[in-house]
Structures are given as C-alpha cells and as structure tokens.
C-alpha cells in the first residue's frame, strides 16, 4: 500500500464522514428548542417582522427543503451566514481558526519537546529521581484544571514578576503582520518583521505552555511505558551485545519503536488541545475559535455552530489521516504491507 493510494482512499472516506456530520448537525440544530428568528428580531418584534426574518433566513420552508439548500451551499464551500455577525461563516472561521491552530500547534510542539525526552529519561532511570519528578509533573498536568493553572501563571509571570504578557496575540502598538496564513509567527517571518515575530512568540509562551501542560503528562507517561516495553526487547539486547553506544541503543533502536504506539496518542492529544483551547483562549483573551464558538452557542447562531462543527470534524479526520501516515513513516511493516 503506497502512501498516495492511502491518502486518496482516506480522502474519499472523508466525503462520507462530512456528509454524516452534516446530517447530524443539521438535525440537532433543528431539534434544539429556541427560535433564532426571535433572537434576531428581538423580544418585542411583531409577528409580521418575525415572519419576515424567518423568510429571509429560509426558516419558513419545509425542513427537507432547508436541508437540500444547506447541502447545496456546503458543496460550494458556503457555510451560510452567521446570524450574529451577519458575515459569511466560512469567512469568520478563516479569520479565527488560524489563531487557534497556531496556539494548538505551539502547545503540541511544546508538549512533545518536553514530554518525549522526559518520558525517555523516566524509562531509562526508572524509579530514580528524574522518574519521580516526572511522575509528579505528569499527575499535576493531568489533574490541574486549565482555568486554574492559567490564572496562576498569569498571576505569577504577568502580575507578580512581570516578564511575560498575559493576554492577546501581539503587543498593542505593534501592527499585526500582513495576513497570509493567519499564523502570526509565519506571517511576520514572511514579511521580515522580526519585531512582530518576537512579540507574537512572546505572547504565545504562557497560553501554549498552559495548554501543553495537561497533555504533557499523558505523553510523558505513554512514552515512558512504551520505552520500558521496548527496552526489554531482544533487538535492544542485540544492539547492546554488539557494543553499540548507549545513545545509539536508545535513540536509534529503542525510541523509534517506542514512538509507534505513541502516535495515536499524539493525534488524540492534538484534538484535545484544540478543544482545550476554548478555555485557554478565554483566559488569555486569545482571539481564536474558542471565543467565537462560545458566543455563537450563546446566541443560537445555528449556521456558525454547524459550520464550526463541520470544520472541526474535518480537522479530526485529517488528524487521524496524519496519524496513519505517520505510522507508515515510522513502521516499515505498515508501509510495505498496508
């Protein structure tokens, strides 16, 4: 099974997944009690105004017909118009999503950069001081609520020892880089604006760390467990018996094999991070999807909720695809035999 045929096969499946999600979100949004027309027109609107708003939104048509219209729009990439912002939902998502992705990716990278080495060290020095310390960090990460930990860090590094910014994506007064990807770090580099780059990196540190911390523990424990398994393997003994250096045994023989069972977890962790971003964004006033979705739910903004759900499920499917492709890169048996 080649890489390309796997990708193609999975992209075909993607269509069915999105179709399923579309049906479900449409059904749920129309089953939820509450009248969006009422919300838009206001409490004191006359029956006539209400009917007018309904007609404008297409809510007066039979449900089946509404669904057909919705699917037609979806196929042309149109997620409808937000009832709240009065702008196209697709445009809104394109505006807010990169901020969330930037935060999520930064958090994932942080969690991996700290979690993988920590897990490897814990396995090598099992039950030693490093392992015990990593255990404490892991349990703390898993059990500490994001909103509490975020506020604690803001209190510490923004209020008491003011070395890091506590909110926003960039210092007030520094212009956001011209929008290309929507990732400030990337866009500022493309524009050659180092001042904006450092400022956005600076703003990313606290929220990314808070978000990473919860997953850090899970990654550390998973890597530790699979490293302990792999270090028992005969091929590790072969490597040692042939006099390979300790670093070669661990980095070239043990770690690549220990990573394979951890890849699923990393995919799940990324999904987790995006959902965890909702809380983190609120705490750090990060202008991402989190705050957009929360407001949409509060105002029963169906097109926005449905649009977000579809984009999110698409994201999950793509993450899973990435996980499977990573398997193929790491494990020749999967790559060659499919």
């Amino acid at each position: 099974m080649s890489l390309i045929s796997t990708i193609l096969r999975r992209l075909v499946l993607l269509v069915f997944v999105v179709a399923g999600v579309a049906v479900i979100t449409f059904t749920i949004s129309h089953l939820i009690p509450g009248d969006p027309a009422q919300l838009i027109a206001g409490d004191k609107a006359s029956a006539e105004t209400l009917a007018h708003v309904r007609q404008e939104l297409g809510l007066d048509k039979p449900v089946t017909q509404q669904f057909v219209i919705y699917v037609k729009q979806l196929l042309s990439g149109d997620l409808g118009q937000s009832l709240r912002t009065r702008r196209p939902v697709a445009g809104d998502i394109a505006l807010f999503l990169p901020a969330t992705l930037e935060l999520g990716i930064a958090a994932l990278v942080t969690a991996i950069m700290i979690g993988v080495p920590l897990g490897v060290l814990s396995a090598i020095y099992k039950d030693g001081p490093v392992d015990q310390a990593a255990r404490v960090v892991s349990v703390a990460g898993i059990s500490m609520p994001v909103f509490w930990f975020g506020l604690a860090l803001i209190l510490l590094f923004y209020v008491k020892i003011p070395i890091l910014p506590g909110s926003g994506r960039i210092t007030l007064g520094i212009a956001a880089p011209p929008r290309i990807t929507g990732f400030f770090l990337v866009d500022s580099l493309v524009a050659g604006d180092l001042k904006a780059f450092w400022s956005s990196l600076y703003h990313l540190i606290l929220p990314a760390f808070v978000l990473a911390f919860a997953n850090l523990g899970i990654i550390t424990r998973q890597i530790r467990a699979s490293m302990l398994d792999v270090l028992q393997e005969d091929y590790v003994r072969t490597a040692r018996a042939n006099g390979l250096s300790r670093s070669a045994v661990i980095l070239r023989h043990a770690l690549p094999n220990a990573l394979i069972p951890s890849v699923t977890l990393l995919g799940l962790a990324f999904g987790d991070l995006l959902y965890g971003a909702v809380l983190t964004e609120t705490i750090f006033a990060w202008p991402g999807m989190g705050s957009y979705v929360v407001s949409s739910i509060q105002t029963l903004d169906f097109p926005a909720i449905m649009g977000f759900t579809i984009v999110a499920s698409l994201g999950y499917v793509l993450i899973n695809l990435a996980v499977d492709l990573t398997y193929m890169v790491l494990d020749p048996q999967i790559r060659e035999l499919g």
Binding site: D234, T238, R240, A241, N242, G243, H253, P256, L330, P332
Partner: protein, 331 residues
C-alpha cells in the same frame, strides 16, 4: 584435568549469582566454574533454568542491572573483570572481542530498520571503515552465510525474512568485527528443524575458518555433541560434569548427564524406549541442602545430603557426584 593450550579468553571461577525478587533471592548460580580458550568450541548443556544463559550473560554483563547480583566468585573476560569495566570499555569488549547470538531471531533485529543498516552500524562502531567499505564487508559476511543475494537482503526489513534467514543475518553480525569469542545462546532452538543443521554448520565453519572460540549453549545434547570440543553440563546453577565431548559421551559420569544422554534418540541404545528424567528442577528460591539432583537421582544415597565437589575423574574429566568419587577412590 588437561585442557587445550591457548590463551584463556574467559574464566569464570566459583561464580554465584542471585536474582532478587519480591519473594526472595533466587539462587540462579551456585559456584559455577568454567573457562574458554582461544579457538575452541565449548558446549554448555542443561535443561531450561539451569543457569546456562545466565552464566554467559553475567560474563558479558547483559543481565538486568537491578535484579541480578553476583554473590560470590569472579569473572575474567579477556583479563578484565566485566563488573569493574566502565560502560565505554564494556562497549569495546562487546562486539569487538565477544559477541552473542541469541535464541529468538524473530525479535533480535530492530523491526524498523533495514538489515543492511543494522550490520553496517555494528561494523562501523568497531572498525574504521567508511560506509561503502562497511557495506561491502557486510555483503561479504552475508555471502559467507550462504545468502545468495546479499544486496537484496540488506535492503529488506526483518519482517520480510524467514527465521532462518534472520538468524544467518545475526550470525553474520556477530562475526562482523572478528571477535575472539562468540556466545551462541540456543541459536537454533526457535528454528525449524530443517534449517537447524545448516545454521549450526555455518557457525562452526565460520568459527573454524576465523579461529574464533565459540561457547555453545543448548539444552540439546545431540546438537552440542556434534559441535563441541568440550562440554559443561549444568544442573540447577552448578556444574554437574565437565570434560571433553568424547569422554563425556563415551562414559558419562554424573547421573544427570547419563539421564540426558538416555533421553536422546540418536545416542540412546537402539530399540529401547526413550527415557525421561522424572521430577523437575529444585526450587532455587529455597534450594534443598546437598546435591541438588538428589531428588531425581536413581543412585542417591546418604552421602548426597552434602554438596559433592567437582572432582577429577580421569585426566580430561570432572564430575560432582559422591558415587563417582567413591568409585574413583575405590579404584
């Protein structure tokens, strides 16, 4: 006891070792002595759990650090005590001077790396060769193992090869840095009977042509008797009998050796049902006093409640059995 001349590569004297478990110490070795000289092929025989592999893994310090503890005796490997070597010195000894072929070829190669990379890595670890030279050396080694298309095999991943093929790769790897001693720990036990003879022949031939000494660990008396110059029969962490293969096979002294030989189709007297040794190994967590084979021995008597010494029987033989000691003294 006369032994072949030549440098002593490995000398184990009176080695006792235990595994500390939560149930208490398991006394895996109780005073094992053996030595291996340059160029000879030595067999270590005994049933599972008698301490064959543990002895040799102790010699190369491959036992798990936390649980295995040497409680007595000593090891000299190429003149050094492996327990006092630094990690770096030990890495030089392993692979360069002594190398090990293990029992399970299915798991003994890294599943995520190509065969060629794995052999080349070992070669380049110990020899100053560039990648091309190491690759051609690896391919030559595989050819010596009667692999007809070494280039194709080197491009393969372990899962694409049969068990016999993998074991040949591991043998090539073990010989790759021209070690002086190779430990072959049951190299054919996990393999199909049809490839056993081939694998054994390859090891023996390569060892003879390079002058490498081999320690052959096996539970199979028939296999060991075909290959080895000398034998050590281990029972419950003690040497029961030691001597040249010919003398041991011709007239086994220890009742355990006799029983092992009677179990073999080829070596047992014809047209008699094969025997099995009654009973099982003693509990090494709480070993009984005296000769550990006593409970399974037909010849046991009152003297066997104390531990028999490994006494010289004839010039090339020693055995740890009170009966034989009595007979020798009587003669």
């Amino acid at each position: 006891m006369t032994e072949p001349s030549g440098d002593v590569l490995l000398e184990i004297s009176d080695l006792s070792l235990e595994f500390r478990t939560y149930r208490g110490p398991i006394k895996a070795l109780n005073g094992v002595s053996l030595n291996v000289r340059a160029g000879e092929i030595v067999g270590i025989v005994g049933e599972s759990g008698c301490g064959k592999s543990v002895t040799m893994m102790a010699a190369t310090r491959l036992l798990p650090k936390g649980s295995a503890h040497i409680t007595g005796g000593g090891i000299r490997l190429f003149g050094n005590d492996p327990m006092t070597l630094s990690e770096r010195e030990l890495q030089h000894v392993r692979g360069r001077l002594v190398s090990t072929i293990f029992q399970e070829p299915m798991n003994a190669l890294n599943p995520t790396r190509r065969i060629g990379e794995q052999i080349v890595e070992v070669i380049r670890r110990h020899q100053r060769l560039d990648k091309a030279a190491a690759t051609s050396k690896a391919s030559g080694l595989l050819r010596d193992m009667l692999i007809s298309e070494p280039e194709r095999i080197m491009q393969a991943y372990p899962f694409e090869l049969s068990g016999g093929m993998r074991q040949r790769v591991l043998i090539a790897m073990a010989f790759s840095c021209e070690p002086k001693l190779i430990i072959a720990d049951e190299p054919t036990t996990a393999l199909d009977v049809t490839v056993q003879a081939l694998i054994l022949g390859l090891i023996k031939h390569k060892a003879m042509s390079t002058g490498t000494a081999v320690v052959f660990i096996s539970h199979d008396m028939a296999v060991v008797s075909q290959l080895c110059d000398r034998l050590y029969v281990l029972y419950a962490g003690r040497v029961a009998e030691a001597g040249t293969t010919e003398s041991v096979l011709a007239a086994p002294a220890h009742p355990y050796t006799r029983a092992l030989i009677r179990c073999l189709p080829g070596l047992a007297p014809p047209k008699q049902p094969l025997e099995q040794i009654p009973g099982t190994l003693p509990d090494l967590l709480d070993p009984p006093a005296g000769c550990l084979f006593r409970a399974r021995c037909r010849e046991a008597n009152d003297r066997c409640v104390s531990v028999p010494p490994l006494a010289a029987m004839e010039p090339a033989r020693r055995a740890a059995c009170w009966r034989r000691i009595e007979e020798t003294q009587a003669a």
